[in-house]
């Protein structure tokens, strides 16, 4: 269960097989485990019509062999979301009716990929998301608008403007980020001790 769930934050479920002509699976780190779990209930020809975009991040090659064994039509293992983005956009641009999208892993990855998919015209009903692994947050500084990835501590320093920000639960799907607000705005310099809230 993710702490701090309020109505602006998406609710994540558990991936399930849905009928479709092409299955696009995007996952990072422990998200691979959700794919492997999905495989347990998949019909034999499922992965022949599946493309997997996988970003191992800190999990290294722990899950890569397992994914290879699924024998998907395409398996891309990439170093970062930014690096995978042109490929993701290409797949979505070529997608036609009957595409099913499966997202698994961290909220930051799922939020960004969900945005790409909906901008490409994929209906919400064809996109599923399952949270796995790290609860680190992607946070937008409300003051400078810069986004800091993989935030573990609250408060933290904005990677762009350097202000000390506290992390709100308010979440924007359009930005795929939580909101960060200057923690010492009313009493400059009085910055509470930073605690690890997201791991």
């Amino acid at each position: 269960m993710l702490e701090g769930t309020i109505p602006s934050r998406p609710v994540y479920g558990a991936l399930e097989i849905r009928p479709g002509r092409l299955h696009l699976i995007v996952a990072d780190a422990e998200g691979a485990e959700a794919i492997l779990d999905l495989a347990a209930s998949a019909p034999p020809d499922f992965f022949a019509g599946a493309q997997i975009i996988y970003l191992p991040k800190k999990s290294g090659d722990k899950f890569v062999a397992g994914l290879e064994q699924l024998a998907p039509a395409q398996l891309y293992v990439g170093p970062s979301y930014e690096a995978a983005l042109p490929r993701l956009r290409r797949v979505l641009a070529g997608a036609h009716m009957g595409l099913q999208v499966y997202l698994a892993g961290t909220e930051g990855l799922m939020g960004q990929a969900m945005l790409e998919a909906t901008q490409a015209g994929i209906p919400h009903s064809a996109i599923q998301a399952e949270h796995r692994g790290s609860t680190v947050r992607r946070v937008q500084c409300v003051h400078c608008k810069g986004i800091t990835e993989d935030v573990t501590h609250d408060p933290f320093r904005c990677a762009h403007c350097g202000l000390h920000l506290f992390v709100r639960d308010h979440y924007s799907r359009r930005i795929a980020a939580f909101q960060g607000v200057r923690v010492d705005a009313e009493d400059p310099g009085n910055i509470p001790e930073s605690v690890e809230r997201f791991r």
Binding site: I6, P7, S8, R9, Q140, V142, K145, A185, D187
Partner: protein
């Protein structure tokens, strides 16, 4: 009716103040001595001549200075005005609603001449004259929503209606009580209200949405909301919170009457004809505590409301730290006498 427009500022030297006439027509938001969230919606009908409820879009003595402040804020941060591509038609609907209402209700200030799609708009207080073609964006200096809301007091959220929900897909937001259009744009009714305490659990948002989805063209609705602001700042945005947050520290018992303001939002709801969108003007009225206590009933009641407000609400509204001081100051104006029902002065 003649309005004399004041020269005043809402930043730096903060010369904003209300005339005694403006104080008398202030939309005091408390019909009783305590406050809690409720589905406080009523028809937006004209009544009480001279009150802020008399006209569709109230134009008061602060008009010209407020529009200057909006232009200043937009120059610093253009993201305060945004419209997703499918909202342009709603922008035209809004422009039509405002221009026709103002020209009809304030003929000495505004004129609109229409010959088919050839329109001619005159805004005397701001010295604007514009000939343009209705529904042709290339004939205006800004998009239609931005054009008309640069000439109309209050913030505007323009909501697309689909899937039994309202979506904040356009807006002009420079006088907000600490929420960000740039962050909230594209959200639905429940999502943008997510940070509000208690009201979700009380079922208020479910009932309010149901009401709003059924607002019909020609039958607008309204409600009041309120908070408190140190200094007469129209722009209390989260974007600039790192600049104005610290100003709350300047408040003392000595300067309370001049520094502390009750901030009231007259929120109205109109169905738009072509787009079926809903427009939500949020008009901000500020009053200094020194001005407010000139009405004894308001002074007594305000003291009781602030004193007894649940902590969660005082925290959300951002004055929990200053509350003890505010209550101490206001208590001098409360002799414990009973107050009459309703919001109007006795």
């Amino acid at each position: 009716m003649t309005v004399i427009f004041k020269e005043e500022t809402f930043h730096d030297d903060f010369t904003f103040r209300n005339s005694p006439e403006a104080v008398k027509r202030f939309p005091f938001p408390f019909p009783e001595d305590s406050y809690m969230y409720s589905v406080n919606l009523e028809p937006h009908k004209s009544y009480r001549p001279g009150s802020v409820y008399e006209r569709t879009f109230d134009v008061d003595e602060h008009y010209v200075s407020e529009m200057r402040d909006r232009a200043r804020v937009l120059a610093e941060d253009p993201l305060r005005c945004q419209s997703l591509p499918h909202m342009t038609l709603a922008g035209w609907d809004l422009l039509e609603l405002i221009m026709t209402s103002k020209a009809e209700e304030y003929p000495e200030l505004f004129e609109l001449h229409r010959d088919g799609t050839k329109w001619h708009w005159i805004n005397r207080p701001l010295g604007i004259e514009q000939k343009f073609t209705f529904l042709d964006e290339t004939t205006l200096p800004y998009g239609p929503m931005e054009y008309i809301t640069r000439q109309t007091q209050g913030d505007f959220a323009v909501l697309d209606q689909r899937d039994d929900n309202l979506w904040m897909d356009a807006g002009m937001v420079t006088t907000q009580a600490d929420w960000s259009l740039d962050f909230d744009i594209g959200m639905n009714f429940f999502e943008w209200h997510a940070p509000v305490p208690k009201a979700h659990e009380m079922g208020i948002f479910q009932r309010a949405l149901k009401f709003l989805l059924n607002v019909q063209q020609g039958s607008p609705a309204r409600r009041l909301n309120w908070t408190m602001t140190v200094y007469p700042l129209l722009d209390t945005s989260p974007e600039n919170y790192h600049k104005w947050g610290v100003m709350k520290k300047d408040l003392t018992l000595e300067n309370m009457g001049q520094m502390m303001h009750l901030r009231v939002e007259l929120q109205t709801f109109f169905r738009l004809p072509r787009s079926n969108a809903l427009v939500f003007p949020i008009r901000c009225y500020l009053i200094k505590l020194d001005e407010l206590v000139t009405v004894p009933k308001w002074a007594r009641r305000f003291h009781r409301v602030i004193r007894d407000l649940p902590t969660e609400l005082a925290t959300y509204k951002g004055f929990v730290t200053n509350r003890p001081k505010i209550v101490e100051w206001l208590s001098k104006y409360d002799d414990g006498a009973p107050t009459s029902p309703g919001i109007w002065p006795d």
